[in-house]
Structure formats: structure tokens, C-alpha cells
């Protein structure tokens, strides 16, 4: 790695760390500004004062705010996000996140792969058949796809697929660690529901960027050199059209994760999303803070990865 590239990478890492720190500050102090006492929420409105006092002491809620923040952030760096206020026996939040994160990562990646696969086919066909019936049909489906709320699509998929084809379970989820085929099957409908609107967005971008690249001079050069149509398409057109495509995938990851949150809850998948929704109902502040921060880090890391990928794809940036 050359030194400007290294400097660039270090700068990006620095910005990422600062953003996470700012995010942690925002999340922490927004949470402290909420009306209502977490101790009373956990113990009940009629809790005895000495119990409330003890609860505050064990969770460090009786210390000044900056001290609480420092304690929280130093713990968080080491993976210790405090203890849950509601879940039995005060489970360490770090453990909860660690056990839920793989499930969310699996569902999210599954949806991403499905969306990418669908959109590659739809976008390519629409671009190659521009203006013909296939293009109109695919483009219409793409707009329709963006317009369907994902959680509703999830239910309809369950109704029409799971109830008629017992292949897909209608509820519940097999962890990928338990059985990968089971996880792929039980995760298929949820992932498809999340993927549908994403695939719609991706295929529209791919279609537009394919159409733009197709008429570039370098494509004509490749053709005039006598390369076959499919070769030119794969190596010259698709490769260059992938840069905006990959960029939009990166930008949409934050929407995709939003879909994951709702869908996890709808299908009863024990991931970060359903953890966060449960915590929202229980006003379990440490869990909500940790979940929000974890999601933030996931998005930031994805952005970093997408930038890296675009740099690799773009011959101009690589030189």
C-alpha cells in the first residue's frame, strides 16, 4: 500500500472512531433526557424507596452524568454495556448483543444477497430490452416493489407460500449455527420480504447506469476490437456500471437494517431488531443504547467497505 493510500485509510479510520464517539454521546444523553425513571419502570411504580435506591446504586444511576457516560463508554469499548434492566437477573447487555448479532447479520446478508441477485437479473434484462415489453414489465414491478411495506409483504408471503407449501415454516427461525439449510429455509421468506423493496431500488439504478455506460466510447472501442457481445457486456459494460450500483447498495444498507428490525419482530426471529423493539417496550435503556450503537457501527463499517470496493472497481481510482 502506498503512503497516500495509507494516510487516506488512517484518516477514514479516525473519522469513523470520532463518529462512533459522537454517536455514543448523542445516544447516551438523549436517553438521559427521556421522561420517566428507569428504576421505577423496572421495579414498578409502587416500589419501596430503599429498593429504588439500591437499584440506582447497582446500575450506577446515582452518579453524575459525565461520570456515568465515562463509565459506560469505557465499558462499551471492552464489550461491557452494563446489565439489562428488565431481562431476568440483569443479563449483561454485551452477552445479549453477542448472541443476537449473528442472527441479524445472517438475515441482513441473506436479504442483501437475494436483493443483489434479483436486481442483477432484472436490471440487466430491462437495460438490454430497453423500451420493449420486458423492460416495461420489469420497470413496473420495480416501482411496485418500492411501494410495498416490507412487513406487510412478509405476512402476505407467509399466507400464500408458507400455508400452501409446507417447505417454508410460517413462524420461528432456525439459527444458522444449528443447521445452515434450516436457517436458509426458515429465513427465506423474511429475507425475501426485506429484499423486495431493496431489489426494486437496486435494479432501477443498475438499469440506468447500464444504459449510460453502453454508449460510452470505450465500449465501442471494445466492440471494434472484435470482442464478442457477452465478453464486452461482462468485462466492459457491467464492470463500469457496477460502481454506482455498489454505491447505492451501500447507501441502502441503513434502510435494509430498518427492514430487518421490523421483519425480525414480525417473524419472531431472535435478532438485534427484536431485542431492540422488546427493549423499547420495556424501557430497557442500556439495551436500547447498545443496540442503537451496534447498528450505527454496522452502517459505518459497511460504508467503509463499500468505499473500498468502489476503489477496487474503478480503474481510475486504483492507478
Amino acid at each position: 500500500m502506498s503512503s497516500p493510500a495509507l494516510r487516506r485509510a488512517l484518516r477514514r479510520a479516525g473519522i469513523l472512531l470520532l463518529t462512533v464517539l459522537a454517536g455514543a454521546l448523542a445516544v447516551f444523553f438523549a436517553m438521559k433526557a427521556t421522561p420517566g425513571d428507569p428504576a421505577l419502570a423496572a421495579l414498578g411504580e409502587n416500589a419501596r424507596p430503599e429498593l429504588v435506591e439500591a437499584f440506582r446504586h447497582t446500575h450506577g444511576l446515582d452518579k453524575p452524568l459525565p461520570v456515568q457516560f465515562l463509565a459506560w463508554i469505557t465499558g462499551a469499548v471492552q464489550g461491557d454495556f452494563g446489565r439489562s434492566l428488565t431481562l431476568a437477573g440483569g443479563v449483561p447487555v454485551g452477552e445479549l448483543i453477542a448472541s443476537r448479532l449473528p442472527v441479524t447479520a445472517f438475515v441482513g446478508l441473506y436479504a442483501l444477497v437475494l436483493a443483489a441477485a434479483i436486481s442483477l437479473v432484472v436490471g440487466t434484462v430491462a437495460a438490454l430490452q430497453r423500451g420493449k415489453a420486458a423492460d416495461t414489465v420489469m420497470t413496473s414491478f420495480a416501482v411496485l416493489g418500492v411501494s410495498m411495506p416490507d412487513f406487510w409483504l412478509g405476512y402476505v408471503l407467509v399466507f400464500f407460500l408458507a400455508l400452501n407449501f409446507p417447505l417454508f415454516p410460517s413462524y420461528g427461525f432456525t439459527a444458522p449455527a444449528e443447521s445452515l439449510p434450516g436457517a436458509l429455509l426458515s429465513g427465506f421468506l423474511p429475507a425475501l420480504a426485506i429484499a423486495a423493496p431493496m431489489a426494486a431500488v437496486f435494479s432501477r439504478v443498475l438499469r440506468a447506469s447500464l444504459l449510460e455506460v453502453m454508449h460510452r466510447p470505450y465500449v465501442q472501442v471494445a466492440r471494434s476490437l472484435g470482442h464478442s457481445g457477452p465478453f464486452v457486456f461482462l468485462h466492459t459494460i457491467l464492470r463500469n456500471a457496477l460502481i454506482p450500483y455498489v454505491t447505492i447498495i451501500g447507501l441502502q444498507v441503513r434502510y435494509l437494517l430498518g427492514g430487518v428490525v421490523v421483519i425480525e419482530r414480525v417473524f419472531g426471529i431472535p435478532g438485534l431488531g427484536s431485542l431492540m423493539v422488546d427493549a423499547a417496550f420495556g424501557r430497557d435503556y442500556p439495551v436500547i443504547q447498545a443496540c442503537a450503537l451496534t447498528f450505527l457501527v454496522i452502517v459505518l463499517l459497511t460504508n467503509l467497505f463499500v468505499d473500498f470496493l468502489c476503489m477496487r472497481l474503478d480503474p481510475k481510482a486504483r492507478a
Partner: protein, 280 residues
């Protein structure tokens, strides 16, 4: 302007979107006079009846006409989403334009803040705000506004920055006009069309966000009817009466389809470069 109108009339996307949106708006606004049932009117003899000529979308577990509820819920959802997007847009545009004008540390800090907000998954941010503020209609509006604030701030900052070197801005500046006059009266009219396109797409997403939050029970609370609470109701008896959830969602999808087509058509119209690149 005549050319613009002519291409607007020729754009099938725009016309279809406009038609659907107008139909939906008409249904929502005139709903109370169109359907013979009040949204809260219970009928315990006709509980969970399938769709028929009297109840087009069937009835729910209280025997309430689902179509009437969807129309009045649509009113609430549309109002929430529009207020949220407009509030986010107003604040975002003000911040973004002022950032472009002042530049320097002010701009850097504002944009860093926007990047931070933008880095949270949108639904996670909304969920978080619902916990901080509490559930309920106003807070859904605030959550939607906060989700859209960074988008509008960044968009208007970029658009404004591109216009600053233009002669008409320079002229206004040399005439000694204050930024409080130049920004809203000279620059804003020139970037308004792009902002409106973003807003029309934003309202569609805002409706989905309200529906998602309320569907999980974290947004609008029953008995206030909104699309999200009606969908959540439909989930309760999905096994016995799947049509409530299915058809309600279908109506929502068609409404959003109209808004999205309208936004697409408007975008193509305001950005001729995109129209050429993206085809018919």
C-alpha cells in the same frame, strides 16, 4: 414553460402517478361522504365478514367497515407523514442553505451532525426517538422529521453551493442584500423543484415508517385509526380473516405506487440529463 408542460403531458409515469395520487387523495378527503359507514361504527352481527358488495374490504373483529377505516386512517397517516417530512424539510433546508452560505467550521460541524444522523438505520433512529419521546402521534411526526432532516440539509447545501458563483447571486450580494433575503428569495426558488421531488418521495417513505412503527405498537396508539394500527389489527386475526391485512396493505401499496410514480415523473421532468440516461 410550455415545453415543460408538454413533456409533462407526454410522460406516462407522471400522468399515471398523478392520476393515482389524485384518486387516493379524493378517496381520503371525501371518504366520510363516500362510504355509508362511519369508521367507528360497530356491528356485532357482521363480524369479520369477507369482502362483498356492501363491505368492499370486509369488516374487522368489531364489525367495523374496513374500507371506511382505511380511508380515515389514511387521512391520519398522510397528515403525519406530510407534517413530518415538511418539518424535516423546513429545518433541513434552513440549516443546509445557511451551511453553504457561511461555510467554514459552522458548515463542517453541521454536516458532520447530519452524517451522524444519516448513519443510523432510519427505522432504528425512529424507534430510538419513540423511546426517548414516548409513543403517540406528535412523536411519530418528530421521528419522521428527524429522519428526513439530514437528507434535506445535505441536498439543499449541495444545491445552494452550486448556485453561489452564479451571476444573479453575485449581483444580489453586490447590491448589499442580506443573506436573510438572498437565500429564501434568490436561491430557494431555483432549488425548490428538486426539493419538492425529494419531498414527494419522502412522504411515501414517511407513510411506510408510520405504518411500521404503529404496526409494532410503537407509534400511533389505538383507538386512533392510522394505516399502521389498522394493519396491526389485521395481524391479530390474520388466520381467521386474512383479507383485512392483505387488502389494507394492497390499498396502501397502490397509494404509495402513485406517490412514487409521481416523484419519478417529476424528477425526470426537472432533470433532463437523468431523463436521457434513464430512458423512456
Amino acid at each position: 414553460m410550455g415545453g415543460l408542460l408538454r413533456s409533462a403531458l407526454r410522460s406516462r409515469t407522471l400522468l399515471t402517478g398523478l392520476l393515482i395520487t389524485l384518486l387516493v387523495l379524493f378517496g381520503i378527503l371525501a371518504g366520510p361522504w363516500l362510504t355509508p359507514f362511519a369508521p367507528e361504527e360497530m356491528d356485532f352481527i357482521n363480524v369479520l365478514t369477507p369482502p362483498d358488495a356492501i363491505h368492499w374490504l370486509g369488516t374487522d373483529s368489531f364489525g367495523r367497515d374496513v374500507l371506511s377505516r382505511v380511508l380515515s386512517g389514511g387521512q391520519v397517516s398522510l397528515l403525519i407523514s406530510t407534517c413530518g417530512v415538511l418539518a424535516g424539510a423546513a429545518l433541513g433546508v434552513a440549516l443546509g442553505m445557511s451551511a453553504a452560505w457561511r461555510g467554514g467550521t459552522y458548515e463542517a460541524i453541521l454536516m458532520a451532525g447530519c452524517d451522524l444522523l444519516f448513519a443510523f438505520p432510519s427505522f432504528v433512529l425512529a424507534l430510538f426517538m419513540m423511546v426517548v419521546l414516548g409513543f403517540g402521534v406528535q412523536n411519530v411526526i418528530i421521528a419522521i422529521a428527524l429522519t428526513y432532516l439530514p437528507i434535506f440539509a445535505r441536498l439543499s447545501r449541495n444545491l445552494t453551493r452550486a448556485l453561489l458563483p452564479e451571476p444573479f447571486v453575485q449581483a444580489a450580494r453586490l447590491m448589499g442584500q442580506r443573506p436573510a433575503r438572498i437565500l429564501p428569495f434568490e436561491i430557494l426558488p431555483n432549488i425548490l423543484s428538486t426539493l419538492l421531488v425529494q419531498a414527494s418521495i419522502g412522504i411515501a417513505f414517511g407513510i411506510v415508517m408510520e405504518a411500521g412503527l404503529s404496526f409494532l405498537g410503537l407509534g400511533v396508539q389505538p383507538p386512533t385509526p392510522s394505516l399502521g394500527t389498522i394493519l396491526a389489527d389485521g395481524r391479530e386475526y390474520f388466520q381467521r380473516a386474512p383479507w383485512v391485512l392483505t387488502l389494507t396493505g394492497l390499498v396502501v401499496s397502490v397509494a404509495l405506487l402513485g406517490l412514487n410514480l409521481l416523484g419519478d415523473g417529476l424528477r425526470d421532468l426537472t432533470d433532463p440529463r437523468l431523463r436521457k440516461a434513464a430512458g423512456p
